[in-house]
Symmetry: C2
Subunit: 141 residues, 2 copies
C-alpha cells in the first residue's frame, strides 16, 4: 500500500521529530526538575525581569492562554512572580529561579551536546536554522 505520506508529509515528519527531540530534552532537563519548556521560560524571565506575558508568548510562539498556564505553574512553585500593571502582567524572577539558572544552562548545554552527537554539530545547527526559517514563513502566511 502507499504509505509514503509517512515519509513525505511535513506535518508528519515534523511532529515525529518534535516527539523525538522532546523526549531527549526531557531526559537532559530531568536534573532541573522542570520540563524543558519551563526551563527556557525561566531563562527568559531571569534575563528580562518585568517582561510581559504577551512578550513571553510571542518569543516562545505559544498562545497567551498557554502562557498564563505556564506562569501559573511557575508561580505555584515560586519560580516566578506576577506584578499586575493595568491590563498587562509583568513577570519577575525569584531567588529560587535565579538559583536554578545555572542548572538550567547546564541542562541546555547537555541537550545540545546530546543531539549534536547524534546528528553531527553542523548538520544539527543547519537543520535548526532551516526549521526556524520555515516556521517563520508558515506562521506569517
Amino acid at each position: 500500500m502507499d504509505d509514503s505520506f509517512l515519509r513525505t508529509c511535513l506535518f508528519f515528519t515534523s511532529n515525529r521529530l518534535s516527539r523525538a527531540i522532546t523526549k531527549i530534552a526531557e531526559e537532559q532537563f530531568a536534573s532541573t526538575g522542570l520540563s524543558p519548556m519551563y526551563g527556557y521560560l525561566i531563562l527568559l524571565v531571569n534575563g528580562t525581569p518585568g517582561i510581559t506575558q504577551k512578550e513571553l508568548a510571542e518569543k516562545l510562539s505559544v498562545t497567551p492562554s498557554t502562557l498564563t498556564r505556564f506562569i501559573d505553574k511557575l508561580e505555584g512553585r515560586h519560580l516566578a512572580e506576577r506584578k499586575v500593571q493595568g491590563k498587562t502582567v509583568l513577570v519577575y524572577p525569584t531567588e529560587k529561579s535565579k538559583e536554578l539558572e545555572v542548572t538550567i544552562r547546564a541542562a541546555s548545554r547537555k541537550l545540545k551536546e546530546s543531539y549534536s552527537a547524534v546528528l553531527g554539530l553542523d548538520d544539527a545547527s543547519k537543520l535548526s536554522d532551516d526549521i526556524l526559517a520555515s516556521s517563520e514563513l508558515l506562521e506569517k502566511r
Copy 2:
C-alpha cells in the same frame, strides 16, 4: 539578554515548526471532520485491512497506549473496527471509513499544496527529508 536558544535549539525550533504545520494541517483537514492524525490513520487502515495496532503505532511513531486511544475514537465513530485475535488486535476499515477516503486524500493534497506554496516545492520536500532522517537517527540513538 541572550535568548539565542529560541533560534538555535532544535527542541525549540522543531516544536515551533510542529505547532505551525499542525495548525495548517488542521485547517486543511477541517473538511474531513477529522484531525490530520486520524485522517492518516484511516488511510493506513484502509490500505492495510487487518493491520495490528502494534504495526500502526510503529508506522506512526506513537506509543501503543496512544494508539489504543486513537482506535477507540475511530471505533466510536464507526471509522474502524477491531477484531481481537489472541493477544493482538487487528484493525479493519468500515464502509464509512472507505467513503471518507476520497475526502481525506483531497485534504492531504491541499495540505501539501498549502505548505509548498509558502516554502517552495523543492525546499519543502527537502526539509521533510532532512527532518525524517534526523528523526530516525534520534529515535535510534
